[in-house]
Protein backbone atom coordinates (compact mmCIF):
# COMPACT_ATOMS: atom_id res chain seq x y z
CA UNK A 1 0.00 0.00 0.00
CA UNK A 2 1.50 3.29 -1.02
CA UNK A 3 2.00 5.98 1.60
CA UNK A 4 -0.24 8.28 -0.39
CA UNK A 5 -3.13 5.87 -0.42
CA UNK A 6 -2.68 5.26 3.31
CA UNK A 7 -2.80 9.00 3.87
CA UNK A 8 -6.06 9.32 1.92
CA UNK A 9 -7.61 6.40 3.78
CA UNK A 10 -6.64 7.81 7.18
CA UNK A 11 -8.06 11.27 6.50
CA UNK A 12 -11.09 9.68 4.86
CA UNK A 13 -11.86 7.62 7.94
CA UNK A 14 -11.43 10.68 10.15
CA UNK A 15 -13.84 12.89 8.23
CA UNK A 16 -16.08 9.84 7.70
CA UNK A 17 -16.39 9.43 11.46
CA UNK A 18 -17.67 13.00 11.69
CA UNK A 19 -20.20 12.36 8.91
CA UNK A 20 -21.22 9.21 10.77
CA UNK A 21 -21.99 11.17 13.95
CA UNK A 22 -24.08 13.69 12.02
CA UNK A 23 -25.81 10.86 10.14
CA UNK A 24 -26.63 9.12 13.43
CA UNK A 25 -28.33 12.32 14.54
CA UNK A 26 -30.47 12.35 11.39
CA UNK A 27 -31.40 8.71 11.85
CA UNK A 28 -32.33 8.97 15.53
CA UNK A 29 -34.73 11.84 14.89
CA UNK A 30 -36.09 10.23 11.74
CA UNK A 31 -36.78 7.01 13.63
CA UNK A 32 -38.56 8.67 16.49
CA UNK A 33 -40.62 11.18 14.54
CA UNK A 34 -40.27 10.65 10.76
CA UNK A 35 -38.94 14.18 10.57
CA UNK A 36 -35.81 14.90 8.56
CA UNK A 37 -34.15 17.52 10.69
CA UNK A 38 -32.37 19.87 8.34
CA UNK A 39 -31.15 21.89 11.33
CA UNK A 40 -28.87 18.98 12.28
CA UNK A 41 -25.81 20.69 10.77
CA UNK A 42 -26.39 23.77 12.92
CA UNK A 43 -25.80 21.73 16.09
CA UNK A 44 -22.39 20.81 14.69
CA UNK A 45 -21.71 24.53 14.33
CA UNK A 46 -23.14 25.39 17.77
CA UNK A 47 -20.98 22.71 19.41
CA UNK A 48 -17.76 24.01 17.89
CA UNK A 49 -18.51 27.72 18.29
CA UNK A 50 -19.72 27.43 21.89
CA UNK A 51 -16.59 25.53 22.90
CA UNK A 52 -14.45 28.19 21.24
CA UNK A 53 -16.08 31.03 23.13
CA UNK A 54 -16.23 29.22 26.49
CA UNK A 55 -12.54 28.39 26.14
CA UNK A 56 -11.94 32.03 25.32
CA UNK A 57 -13.84 32.98 28.47
CA UNK A 58 -11.29 31.05 30.52
CA UNK A 59 -12.99 27.70 31.07
CA UNK A 60 -10.69 24.65 30.90
CA UNK A 61 -11.15 22.66 27.67
CA UNK A 62 -12.91 19.56 29.10
CA UNK A 63 -15.39 21.73 30.99
CA UNK A 64 -15.98 23.93 27.91
CA UNK A 65 -16.68 20.81 25.84
CA UNK A 66 -19.20 19.40 28.30
CA UNK A 67 -20.92 22.77 28.60
CA UNK A 68 -21.09 23.17 24.80
CA UNK A 69 -22.68 19.74 24.37
CA UNK A 70 -25.25 20.65 27.01
CA UNK A 71 -25.97 23.98 25.29
CA UNK A 72 -26.49 22.24 21.94
CA UNK A 73 -28.71 19.57 23.50
CA UNK A 74 -30.82 22.30 25.10
CA UNK A 75 -31.17 23.97 21.68
CA UNK A 76 -32.25 20.63 20.22
CA UNK A 77 -34.88 20.20 22.92
CA UNK A 78 -36.08 23.77 22.37
CA UNK A 79 -36.34 23.14 18.63
CA UNK A 80 -38.58 20.15 19.27
CA UNK A 81 -40.70 21.92 21.88
CA UNK A 82 -41.31 25.19 20.05
CA UNK A 83 -41.13 24.31 16.35
CA UNK A 84 -41.68 20.61 15.69
CA UNK A 85 -44.12 19.61 18.41
CA UNK A 86 -46.64 22.40 17.60
CA UNK A 87 -46.69 21.23 13.96
CA UNK A 88 -47.41 17.60 14.85
CA UNK A 89 -49.21 15.79 12.01
CA UNK A 90 -48.20 18.32 9.35
CA UNK A 91 -47.10 17.08 5.91
CA UNK A 92 -43.53 16.07 5.03
CA UNK A 93 -42.90 19.28 3.08
CA UNK A 94 -44.21 21.46 5.90
CA UNK A 95 -41.94 19.79 8.45
CA UNK A 96 -38.96 20.07 6.11
CA UNK A 97 -39.60 23.80 5.72
CA UNK A 98 -39.91 24.20 9.50
CA UNK A 99 -36.55 22.59 10.21
CA UNK A 100 -34.92 24.57 7.40
CA UNK A 101 -36.45 27.73 8.84
CA UNK A 102 -34.95 26.70 12.17
CA UNK A 103 -31.52 26.23 10.61
CA UNK A 104 -31.65 29.71 9.06
CA UNK A 105 -32.78 31.08 12.41
CA UNK A 106 -29.91 29.38 14.27
CA UNK A 107 -27.38 30.51 11.68
CA UNK A 108 -28.66 34.07 12.00
CA UNK A 109 -28.43 33.77 15.76
CA UNK A 110 -24.83 32.59 15.45
CA UNK A 111 -23.86 35.70 13.47
CA UNK A 112 -25.42 37.81 16.23
CA UNK A 113 -23.89 35.98 19.20
CA UNK A 114 -20.52 35.44 17.54
CA UNK A 115 -19.26 36.82 14.23
CA UNK A 116 -18.64 35.76 10.65
CA UNK A 117 -14.97 34.87 11.17
CA UNK A 118 -13.24 31.48 11.21
CA UNK A 119 -12.38 30.06 14.62
CA UNK A 120 -10.33 27.16 15.83
CA UNK A 121 -9.65 25.07 18.92
CA UNK A 122 -6.29 23.71 20.10
CA UNK A 123 -5.79 20.00 19.41
CA UNK A 124 -6.75 17.93 22.44
CA UNK A 125 -3.29 16.39 22.74
CA UNK A 126 -0.59 18.05 20.72
CA UNK A 127 0.21 18.43 17.04
CA UNK A 128 2.96 15.88 16.56
CA UNK A 129 1.80 13.51 13.78
CA UNK A 130 2.07 9.76 14.31
CA UNK A 131 3.46 7.81 11.38
CA UNK A 132 1.49 4.80 10.15
CA UNK A 133 2.51 2.97 6.94
CA UNK A 134 4.31 6.07 5.77
CA UNK A 135 1.27 8.28 6.33
CA UNK A 136 0.95 10.96 8.98
CA UNK A 137 -1.90 10.67 11.44
CA UNK A 138 -2.79 13.69 13.56
CA UNK A 139 -3.39 12.93 17.25
CA UNK A 140 -6.70 14.76 16.85
CA UNK A 141 -7.76 12.12 14.29
CA UNK A 142 -7.26 9.49 16.98
CA UNK A 143 -9.54 11.50 19.24
CA UNK A 144 -12.14 11.68 16.49
CA UNK A 145 -12.01 7.94 15.85
CA UNK A 146 -11.85 6.99 19.52
CA UNK A 147 -14.73 9.18 20.61
CA UNK A 148 -16.85 8.10 17.64
CA UNK A 149 -16.22 4.46 18.47
CA UNK A 150 -17.09 5.08 22.12
CA UNK A 151 -20.31 6.84 21.13
CA UNK A 152 -21.32 4.04 18.78
CA UNK A 153 -20.78 1.48 21.56
CA UNK A 154 -22.63 3.66 24.04
CA UNK A 155 -25.54 4.09 21.65
CA UNK A 156 -25.82 0.38 20.94
CA UNK A 157 -25.86 -0.25 24.69
CA UNK A 158 -28.44 2.52 25.11
CA UNK A 159 -30.79 1.21 22.42
CA UNK A 160 -30.28 -2.44 23.29
CA UNK A 161 -30.22 -2.44 27.08
CA UNK A 162 -31.94 0.58 28.61
CA UNK A 163 -35.67 1.07 28.95
CA UNK A 164 -35.60 4.52 27.36
CA UNK A 165 -33.54 3.26 24.42
CA UNK A 166 -35.95 0.41 23.87
CA UNK A 167 -38.86 2.83 24.07
CA UNK A 168 -37.28 4.91 21.29
CA UNK A 169 -36.75 1.78 19.18
CA UNK A 170 -40.32 0.66 19.76
CA UNK A 171 -41.62 4.06 18.73
CA UNK A 172 -39.61 3.94 15.53
CA UNK A 173 -41.03 0.54 14.63
CA UNK A 174 -44.68 1.29 15.29
CA UNK A 175 -45.66 4.55 16.84
CA UNK A 176 -49.25 3.62 17.63
CA UNK A 177 -48.37 0.24 19.08
CA UNK A 178 -45.70 1.89 21.22
CA UNK A 179 -48.28 4.30 22.54
CA UNK A 180 -50.66 1.43 23.28
CA UNK A 181 -48.12 -0.35 25.48
CA UNK A 182 -47.72 2.82 27.50
CA UNK A 183 -44.71 4.52 25.95
CA UNK A 184 -44.86 8.28 26.12
CA UNK A 185 -44.27 8.83 22.42
CA UNK A 186 -44.12 12.60 22.66
CA UNK A 187 -41.42 12.38 25.28
CA UNK A 188 -39.49 9.95 23.10
CA UNK A 189 -39.52 12.44 20.22
CA UNK A 190 -38.48 15.23 22.59
CA UNK A 191 -35.53 13.25 23.93
CA UNK A 192 -34.43 12.14 20.46
CA UNK A 193 -33.97 15.78 19.43
CA UNK A 194 -31.79 16.45 22.47
CA UNK A 195 -29.74 13.31 21.83
CA UNK A 196 -29.20 14.12 18.15
CA UNK A 197 -28.20 17.69 18.92
CA UNK A 198 -25.66 16.43 21.46
CA UNK A 199 -24.20 14.01 18.87
CA UNK A 200 -23.95 16.84 16.35
CA UNK A 201 -22.22 19.06 18.89
CA UNK A 202 -19.66 16.35 19.71
CA UNK A 203 -18.91 16.01 15.99
CA UNK A 204 -18.49 19.77 15.68
CA UNK A 205 -16.12 19.97 18.66
CA UNK A 206 -13.97 17.02 17.53
CA UNK A 207 -13.45 18.34 14.02
CA UNK A 208 -12.83 22.01 14.84
CA UNK A 209 -9.07 21.61 15.59
CA UNK A 210 -8.66 20.02 12.13
CA UNK A 211 -10.98 21.97 9.83
CA UNK A 212 -11.83 25.15 11.79
CA UNK A 213 -15.40 26.31 12.41
CA UNK A 214 -17.54 29.33 11.62
CA UNK A 215 -21.20 30.35 11.58
CA UNK A 216 -21.90 28.60 8.27
CA UNK A 217 -20.08 25.23 8.57
CA UNK A 218 -23.39 23.57 9.41
CA UNK A 219 -24.76 23.76 5.87
CA UNK A 220 -22.29 21.45 4.12
CA UNK A 221 -21.65 19.19 7.15
CA UNK A 222 -25.40 18.82 7.59
CA UNK A 223 -26.01 17.97 3.94
CA UNK A 224 -23.11 15.50 3.86
CA UNK A 225 -24.27 13.85 7.08
CA UNK A 226 -27.68 13.60 5.50
CA UNK A 227 -26.20 12.00 2.38
CA UNK A 228 -24.34 9.55 4.65
CA UNK A 229 -27.56 8.65 6.46
CA UNK A 230 -29.33 8.01 3.15
CA UNK A 231 -26.35 6.05 1.84
CA UNK A 232 -26.45 3.69 4.80
CA UNK A 233 -30.23 3.54 4.92
CA UNK A 234 -32.12 6.31 6.67
CA UNK A 235 -33.07 5.21 10.16
CA UNK A 236 -30.44 2.49 10.46
CA UNK A 237 -27.76 3.06 13.11
CA UNK A 238 -25.08 0.75 11.67
CA UNK A 239 -26.07 2.13 8.26
CA UNK A 240 -25.33 5.68 9.38
CA UNK A 241 -21.85 4.69 10.57
CA UNK A 242 -21.11 2.70 7.41
CA UNK A 243 -22.52 5.48 5.23
CA UNK A 244 -20.37 8.07 6.96
CA UNK A 245 -17.17 6.05 6.58
CA UNK A 246 -17.84 5.14 2.93
CA UNK A 247 -18.57 8.78 2.19
CA UNK A 248 -15.47 10.08 3.95
CA UNK A 249 -13.16 7.62 2.20
CA UNK A 250 -14.79 8.14 -1.20
CA UNK A 251 -14.41 11.85 -0.75
CA UNK A 252 -10.70 11.89 0.11
CA UNK A 253 -9.91 9.31 -2.59
CA UNK A 254 -11.68 11.33 -5.26
CA UNK A 255 -10.10 14.53 -4.02
CA UNK A 256 -6.69 12.85 -4.27
CA UNK A 257 -7.01 10.93 -7.52
CA UNK A 258 -9.74 12.72 -9.50
CA UNK A 259 -10.38 16.35 -8.72
CA UNK A 260 -10.29 18.27 -5.47
CA UNK A 261 -12.79 20.78 -6.84
CA UNK A 262 -15.41 18.08 -7.21
CA UNK A 263 -14.88 16.27 -3.90
CA UNK A 264 -18.12 17.76 -2.53
CA UNK A 265 -20.08 16.29 -5.44
CA UNK A 266 -19.11 12.70 -4.60
CA UNK A 267 -21.36 12.59 -1.54
CA UNK A 268 -24.43 13.44 -3.57
CA UNK A 269 -23.54 11.28 -6.56
CA UNK A 270 -23.17 8.28 -4.21
CA UNK A 271 -26.44 9.19 -2.52
CA UNK A 272 -28.27 9.31 -5.86
CA UNK A 273 -26.72 6.05 -7.01
CA UNK A 274 -27.92 4.34 -3.84
CA UNK A 275 -31.38 5.90 -4.11
CA UNK A 276 -31.76 4.71 -7.71
CA UNK A 277 -30.45 1.19 -7.27
CA UNK A 278 -31.19 0.33 -3.64
CA UNK A 279 -33.58 3.02 -2.37
CA UNK A 280 -33.53 1.78 1.23
CA UNK A 281 -29.78 2.31 1.47
CA UNK A 282 -26.93 -0.12 2.06
CA UNK A 283 -28.24 -1.42 5.38
CA UNK A 284 -31.83 -0.19 5.37
CA UNK A 285 -34.57 -2.72 6.03
CA UNK A 286 -36.92 -3.95 3.35
CA UNK A 287 -40.30 -2.31 3.45
CA UNK A 288 -43.39 -3.75 1.90
CA UNK A 289 -45.70 -1.15 0.52
CA UNK A 290 -49.16 -0.85 1.97
CA UNK A 291 -52.06 0.70 0.15
Amino acid sequence: MSAQLAQYLLSGVTIGAIYALVALGFSIIFNASHVINFAQGEFVMIGGMTTVSLLGAGLPLPLAIVAAVIVAAAMGLALEKFAVEPARGASVVTLIIITIGASIFLRGLATLVWDKKLHTLPSFSGHRPIEIAGAALLPQSLWVLGVTLAIVLLLSWFFGRTLLGKAILATSHQRLAAQLVGINVRQVVFISFGLSAALGAVAGILITPITLTSWDVGIMLGLKGFAAAVLGGLGSGPGAVLGGLVLGIAETLSAGYLSSAYKDVIAFVLMLAVLFFMPRGLLGGRVTERV
Binding site: H34, I36, A83, P86, A87, A90, S91, V92, V93, T94, L95, I96, I97, I98, I100, G101, A102, S103, I104, F105, L106, R107, G108, L109, T111, L112, I219, L223, F226, A227, V230, L234, A261, Y262, D264, V265, F268, V269, M271, L272, L275, F276, P279, E289, V291
Partner: protein, 324 residues
Protein backbone atom coordinates in the same frame (compact mmCIF):
# COMPACT_ATOMS: atom_id res chain seq x y z
CA UNK B 1 -72.54 34.63 -17.94
CA UNK B 2 -72.98 35.40 -14.26
CA UNK B 3 -72.32 31.82 -13.27
CA UNK B 4 -69.28 31.76 -15.53
CA UNK B 5 -67.93 34.81 -13.75
CA UNK B 6 -68.70 33.36 -10.36
CA UNK B 7 -66.54 30.31 -10.97
CA UNK B 8 -63.56 30.47 -8.70
CA UNK B 9 -61.09 30.03 -11.49
CA UNK B 10 -62.52 32.66 -13.82
CA UNK B 11 -62.93 35.05 -10.93
CA UNK B 12 -59.35 34.41 -9.85
CA UNK B 13 -58.08 34.90 -13.38
CA UNK B 14 -59.90 38.24 -13.70
CA UNK B 15 -58.63 39.32 -10.29
CA UNK B 16 -55.08 38.46 -11.34
CA UNK B 17 -55.37 40.41 -14.61
CA UNK B 18 -56.87 43.37 -12.76
CA UNK B 19 -54.12 43.25 -10.14
CA UNK B 20 -51.38 43.21 -12.76
CA UNK B 21 -53.05 45.99 -14.75
CA UNK B 22 -53.68 48.23 -11.75
CA UNK B 23 -50.49 47.59 -9.76
CA UNK B 24 -48.41 50.23 -11.65
CA UNK B 25 -50.67 52.90 -10.08
CA UNK B 26 -49.10 51.98 -6.75
CA UNK B 27 -45.54 51.64 -8.04
CA UNK B 28 -44.03 55.07 -7.50
CA UNK B 29 -40.44 54.40 -8.57
CA UNK B 30 -38.16 52.00 -10.39
CA UNK B 31 -37.27 50.12 -7.22
CA UNK B 32 -40.89 49.09 -6.70
CA UNK B 33 -41.10 48.05 -10.34
CA UNK B 34 -38.00 45.97 -9.87
CA UNK B 35 -39.49 44.13 -6.88
CA UNK B 36 -42.75 43.61 -8.81
CA UNK B 37 -40.83 42.11 -11.75
CA UNK B 38 -38.95 39.73 -9.45
CA UNK B 39 -42.27 38.74 -7.87
CA UNK B 40 -43.62 37.96 -11.33
CA UNK B 41 -40.60 35.88 -12.31
CA UNK B 42 -40.74 33.89 -9.07
CA UNK B 43 -44.50 33.50 -9.51
CA UNK B 44 -43.90 31.76 -12.85
CA UNK B 45 -41.59 29.20 -11.18
CA UNK B 46 -44.05 28.69 -8.34
CA UNK B 47 -47.04 28.14 -10.61
CA UNK B 48 -45.08 25.37 -12.31
CA UNK B 49 -43.72 23.94 -9.07
CA UNK B 50 -47.20 23.97 -7.59
CA UNK B 51 -48.39 21.69 -10.39
CA UNK B 52 -45.79 19.19 -9.24
CA UNK B 53 -46.02 19.61 -5.46
CA UNK B 54 -49.58 20.77 -4.97
CA UNK B 55 -51.45 18.78 -7.60
CA UNK B 56 -49.34 15.72 -8.32
CA UNK B 57 -48.13 15.47 -4.71
CA UNK B 58 -44.45 15.06 -5.66
CA UNK B 59 -41.82 16.96 -3.68
CA UNK B 60 -38.90 18.69 -5.35
CA UNK B 61 -36.13 20.23 -3.26
CA UNK B 62 -34.01 20.89 -6.34
CA UNK B 63 -35.98 23.22 -8.56
CA UNK B 64 -33.39 25.97 -8.24
CA UNK B 65 -31.28 23.57 -10.31
CA UNK B 66 -33.67 23.92 -13.25
CA UNK B 67 -34.05 27.63 -12.62
CA UNK B 68 -30.29 28.07 -12.55
CA UNK B 69 -29.64 25.83 -15.57
CA UNK B 70 -32.13 27.91 -17.55
CA UNK B 71 -30.42 31.08 -16.37
CA UNK B 72 -26.83 29.92 -16.85
CA UNK B 73 -27.63 28.11 -20.11
CA UNK B 74 -29.13 31.21 -21.62
CA UNK B 75 -26.37 33.40 -20.17
CA UNK B 76 -23.52 31.22 -21.46
CA UNK B 77 -24.97 30.76 -24.95
CA UNK B 78 -25.61 34.48 -25.40
CA UNK B 79 -22.57 35.91 -23.61
CA UNK B 80 -19.86 33.39 -24.54
CA UNK B 81 -21.10 32.06 -27.89
CA UNK B 82 -22.83 35.15 -29.24
CA UNK B 83 -26.25 33.57 -29.68
CA UNK B 84 -29.21 35.94 -29.94
CA UNK B 85 -30.57 36.05 -26.35
CA UNK B 86 -34.05 34.87 -27.31
CA UNK B 87 -32.67 31.84 -29.15
CA UNK B 88 -30.36 31.16 -26.21
CA UNK B 89 -33.31 31.28 -23.83
CA UNK B 90 -35.31 28.92 -26.03
CA UNK B 91 -32.40 26.50 -26.40
CA UNK B 92 -31.63 26.52 -22.68
CA UNK B 93 -35.29 25.91 -21.87
CA UNK B 94 -35.48 23.03 -24.33
CA UNK B 95 -32.29 21.56 -22.86
CA UNK B 96 -33.66 21.78 -19.33
CA UNK B 97 -36.86 20.10 -20.49
CA UNK B 98 -34.78 17.30 -21.97
CA UNK B 99 -32.71 16.95 -18.80
CA UNK B 100 -35.87 16.81 -16.69
CA UNK B 101 -37.28 14.18 -19.03
CA UNK B 102 -34.14 12.06 -18.75
CA UNK B 103 -33.67 12.21 -14.98
CA UNK B 104 -37.40 12.31 -14.27
CA UNK B 105 -38.07 8.63 -14.83
CA UNK B 106 -35.61 7.18 -12.29
CA UNK B 107 -36.19 10.00 -9.79
CA UNK B 108 -39.96 9.89 -9.85
CA UNK B 109 -40.00 6.21 -8.99
CA UNK B 110 -39.05 7.38 -5.50
CA UNK B 111 -41.64 8.65 -3.05
CA UNK B 112 -41.99 10.99 -0.11
CA UNK B 113 -38.77 11.48 1.82
CA UNK B 114 -36.73 9.57 -0.76
CA UNK B 115 -37.93 11.78 -3.60
CA UNK B 116 -37.09 14.82 -1.49
CA UNK B 117 -33.54 13.51 -0.97
CA UNK B 118 -32.95 12.64 -4.62
CA UNK B 119 -34.14 16.03 -5.88
CA UNK B 120 -32.07 17.72 -3.18
CA UNK B 121 -29.00 15.76 -4.32
CA UNK B 122 -29.57 16.72 -7.96
CA UNK B 123 -29.90 20.37 -7.02
CA UNK B 124 -26.75 20.38 -4.91
CA UNK B 125 -24.77 18.67 -7.70
CA UNK B 126 -25.86 21.30 -10.22
CA UNK B 127 -24.98 24.07 -7.79
CA UNK B 128 -21.47 22.70 -7.13
CA UNK B 129 -20.84 22.22 -10.86
CA UNK B 130 -21.92 25.81 -11.52
CA UNK B 131 -19.57 27.24 -8.88
CA UNK B 132 -16.67 25.06 -10.00
CA UNK B 133 -16.75 25.46 -13.80
CA UNK B 134 -15.61 29.07 -13.63
CA UNK B 135 -14.39 29.04 -17.23
CA UNK B 136 -18.02 28.99 -18.33
CA UNK B 137 -19.95 30.36 -15.38
CA UNK B 138 -17.54 32.82 -13.79
CA UNK B 139 -17.48 30.68 -10.64
CA UNK B 140 -18.68 32.01 -7.30
CA UNK B 141 -18.55 35.60 -8.58
CA UNK B 142 -21.16 34.95 -11.23
CA UNK B 143 -21.23 36.32 -14.76
CA UNK B 144 -22.85 39.18 -16.60
CA UNK B 145 -25.64 38.47 -19.07
CA UNK B 146 -26.54 40.50 -22.18
CA UNK B 147 -30.03 42.06 -22.26
CA UNK B 148 -32.89 40.39 -24.08
CA UNK B 149 -33.60 41.57 -27.62
CA UNK B 150 -36.95 41.12 -29.31
CA UNK B 151 -37.04 41.54 -33.10
CA UNK B 152 -34.00 43.80 -33.04
CA UNK B 153 -35.34 45.84 -30.13
CA UNK B 154 -33.49 45.76 -26.82
CA UNK B 155 -35.80 44.98 -23.95
CA UNK B 156 -34.85 47.36 -21.21
CA UNK B 157 -36.33 49.64 -18.62
CA UNK B 158 -38.39 48.52 -15.65
CA UNK B 159 -41.69 49.52 -17.22
CA UNK B 160 -41.21 47.47 -20.37
CA UNK B 161 -40.13 44.46 -18.38
CA UNK B 162 -43.08 44.85 -16.04
CA UNK B 163 -45.59 44.37 -18.85
CA UNK B 164 -43.66 41.52 -20.43
CA UNK B 165 -43.41 39.63 -17.14
CA UNK B 166 -47.01 40.49 -16.25
CA UNK B 167 -48.22 39.00 -19.55
CA UNK B 168 -46.10 35.90 -18.97
CA UNK B 169 -47.50 35.43 -15.46
CA UNK B 170 -51.04 35.56 -16.86
CA UNK B 171 -50.09 33.08 -19.58
CA UNK B 172 -48.42 30.78 -17.05
CA UNK B 173 -51.43 30.80 -14.74
CA UNK B 174 -53.85 30.33 -17.63
CA UNK B 175 -51.93 27.34 -18.97
CA UNK B 176 -51.66 25.81 -15.53
CA UNK B 177 -55.37 26.27 -14.89
CA UNK B 178 -56.22 24.61 -18.19
CA UNK B 179 -53.94 21.71 -17.44
CA UNK B 180 -55.53 21.23 -14.05
CA UNK B 181 -59.03 21.17 -15.54
CA UNK B 182 -58.03 18.73 -18.27
CA UNK B 183 -58.16 14.93 -17.96
CA UNK B 184 -54.42 15.08 -17.23
CA UNK B 185 -55.11 17.38 -14.30
CA UNK B 186 -57.72 15.01 -12.92
CA UNK B 187 -55.28 12.16 -13.30
CA UNK B 188 -52.68 14.15 -11.38
CA UNK B 189 -55.02 14.85 -8.52
CA UNK B 190 -55.96 11.18 -8.41
CA UNK B 191 -52.26 10.35 -8.22
CA UNK B 192 -51.76 12.74 -5.38
CA UNK B 193 -54.57 11.03 -3.49
CA UNK B 194 -53.35 7.49 -3.97
CA UNK B 195 -50.89 6.38 -6.56
CA UNK B 196 -51.97 2.76 -6.41
CA UNK B 197 -55.62 3.79 -6.48
CA UNK B 198 -54.98 5.87 -9.58
CA UNK B 199 -53.22 2.99 -11.32
CA UNK B 200 -56.09 0.67 -10.51
CA UNK B 201 -58.50 2.92 -12.40
CA UNK B 202 -56.15 2.91 -15.38
CA UNK B 203 -54.01 6.00 -14.94
CA UNK B 204 -50.43 5.63 -16.17
CA UNK B 205 -48.93 7.21 -13.09
CA UNK B 206 -45.29 7.35 -14.16
CA UNK B 207 -46.18 9.01 -17.49
CA UNK B 208 -48.28 11.67 -15.78
CA UNK B 209 -45.70 12.35 -13.09
CA UNK B 210 -42.99 12.68 -15.72
CA UNK B 211 -45.13 15.06 -17.75
CA UNK B 212 -45.78 17.41 -14.88
CA UNK B 213 -42.13 17.19 -13.75
CA UNK B 214 -40.99 18.31 -17.20
CA UNK B 215 -43.60 21.09 -17.34
CA UNK B 216 -42.54 22.44 -13.95
CA UNK B 217 -38.86 22.28 -14.96
CA UNK B 218 -39.63 24.21 -18.17
CA UNK B 219 -41.51 26.88 -16.20
CA UNK B 220 -38.49 27.21 -13.89
CA UNK B 221 -36.02 27.35 -16.80
CA UNK B 222 -37.95 30.10 -18.59
CA UNK B 223 -38.17 32.16 -15.41
CA UNK B 224 -34.47 31.51 -14.69
CA UNK B 225 -33.42 32.64 -18.14
CA UNK B 226 -35.60 35.74 -17.97
CA UNK B 227 -34.28 36.61 -14.50
CA UNK B 228 -30.70 36.39 -15.78
CA UNK B 229 -31.39 38.61 -18.80
CA UNK B 230 -33.44 41.05 -16.78
CA UNK B 231 -30.90 41.61 -13.99
CA UNK B 232 -27.97 41.40 -16.42
CA UNK B 233 -26.21 39.17 -13.94
CA UNK B 234 -26.39 35.67 -12.51
CA UNK B 235 -24.65 34.15 -9.48
CA UNK B 236 -24.52 30.60 -8.07
CA UNK B 237 -26.93 31.79 -5.36
CA UNK B 238 -29.74 31.32 -7.90
CA UNK B 239 -28.87 27.62 -8.16
CA UNK B 240 -28.28 27.01 -4.47
CA UNK B 241 -30.07 24.58 -2.18
CA UNK B 242 -31.35 27.60 -0.28
CA UNK B 243 -33.03 29.00 -3.39
CA UNK B 244 -34.73 25.64 -3.96
CA UNK B 245 -36.09 25.85 -0.45
CA UNK B 246 -37.24 29.43 -1.00
CA UNK B 247 -39.21 28.30 -4.05
CA UNK B 248 -40.85 25.41 -2.20
CA UNK B 249 -41.62 27.70 0.72
CA UNK B 250 -43.36 30.14 -1.63
CA UNK B 251 -45.58 27.36 -2.94
CA UNK B 252 -46.41 25.95 0.48
CA UNK B 253 -46.82 29.37 2.04
CA UNK B 254 -49.28 30.54 -0.62
CA UNK B 255 -51.13 27.26 -0.44
CA UNK B 256 -50.53 23.92 -2.08
CA UNK B 257 -52.86 22.94 -4.92
CA UNK B 258 -53.83 26.55 -5.48
CA UNK B 259 -52.40 28.26 -8.54
CA UNK B 260 -53.30 31.70 -7.23
CA UNK B 261 -51.84 30.68 -3.89
CA UNK B 262 -48.53 30.09 -5.63
CA UNK B 263 -48.66 33.62 -7.03
CA UNK B 264 -49.52 35.07 -3.60
CA UNK B 265 -46.74 33.04 -1.96
CA UNK B 266 -44.21 34.28 -4.50
CA UNK B 267 -45.37 37.86 -3.95
CA UNK B 268 -45.08 37.72 -0.17
CA UNK B 269 -41.81 35.82 0.08
CA UNK B 270 -40.12 37.91 -2.62
CA UNK B 271 -41.02 41.18 -0.93
CA UNK B 272 -40.35 39.88 2.58
CA UNK B 273 -36.52 40.03 2.39
CA UNK B 274 -36.82 43.57 1.00
CA UNK B 275 -38.91 44.52 4.02
CA UNK B 276 -36.70 42.62 6.44
CA UNK B 277 -33.64 44.65 5.47
CA UNK B 278 -34.85 47.21 8.02
CA UNK B 279 -33.86 44.62 10.66
CA UNK B 280 -30.27 44.80 9.35
CA UNK B 281 -28.23 42.17 11.21
CA UNK B 282 -31.40 40.55 12.53
CA UNK B 283 -32.58 39.85 8.97
CA UNK B 284 -31.62 36.18 8.92
CA UNK B 285 -33.13 35.46 12.34
CA UNK B 286 -36.33 37.20 11.31
CA UNK B 287 -36.57 35.29 8.01
CA UNK B 288 -36.06 31.95 9.76
CA UNK B 289 -38.66 32.84 12.37
CA UNK B 290 -41.21 33.85 9.72
CA UNK B 291 -40.59 30.59 7.85
CA UNK B 292 -41.14 28.48 10.95
CA UNK B 293 -44.04 30.55 12.26
CA UNK B 294 -46.14 30.45 9.10
CA UNK B 295 -45.63 26.72 8.67
CA UNK B 296 -46.64 26.10 12.28
CA UNK B 297 -49.68 28.36 12.34
CA UNK B 298 -50.88 28.21 8.72
CA UNK B 299 -49.69 24.76 7.58
CA UNK B 300 -52.19 24.61 4.72
CA UNK B 301 -51.02 27.90 3.26
CA UNK B 302 -52.57 31.31 3.03
CA UNK B 303 -54.99 31.11 0.11
CA UNK B 304 -56.64 27.76 0.96
CA UNK B 305 -56.96 28.79 4.62
CA UNK B 306 -58.62 32.07 3.67
CA UNK B 307 -60.82 30.31 1.12
CA UNK B 308 -61.90 27.80 3.75
CA UNK B 309 -62.75 30.56 6.19
CA UNK B 310 -64.89 32.47 3.67
CA UNK B 311 -66.48 29.30 2.33
CA UNK B 312 -67.41 28.21 5.83
CA UNK B 313 -69.11 31.53 6.33
CA UNK B 314 -70.95 31.58 2.99
CA UNK B 315 -72.47 28.13 2.83
CA UNK B 316 -72.76 25.25 5.27
CA UNK B 317 -71.02 22.04 4.22
CA UNK B 318 -70.08 21.12 0.69
CA UNK B 319 -67.20 18.87 0.00
CA UNK B 320 -64.87 20.03 -2.70
CA UNK B 321 -65.16 18.35 -6.06
CA UNK B 322 -68.48 16.59 -5.48
CA UNK B 323 -70.54 16.93 -8.67
CA UNK B 324 -74.20 17.36 -8.24
Amino acid sequence: MISWLAQARTGGMLALIAAIALLPLALSNNYFYEVAILVGLNAIVCVGLNLLIGYAGQISLGHAGFFGLGGYGSAILSARYGWPPLAALAAATAAVGLIAFTIGRPILRLRGHYLAMATLGMGVIVSIVVSTEDGFTGGPDGMSVPPLTLAGMVLQGERVWYWVVGALVIAAVWLAQNLIESPTGRALRALSGSEVGAEVVGIDSSRHKLLVFVISAVYAAIAGGLTAHYSGFITPGKVSFFHSIELVTMVVFGGMASTFGAVVGAAILTTLPQVLTVFKEYEMVAFGAVMMGTMIFVPKGLVPSLAMMTAARRRPVRSHGSDR
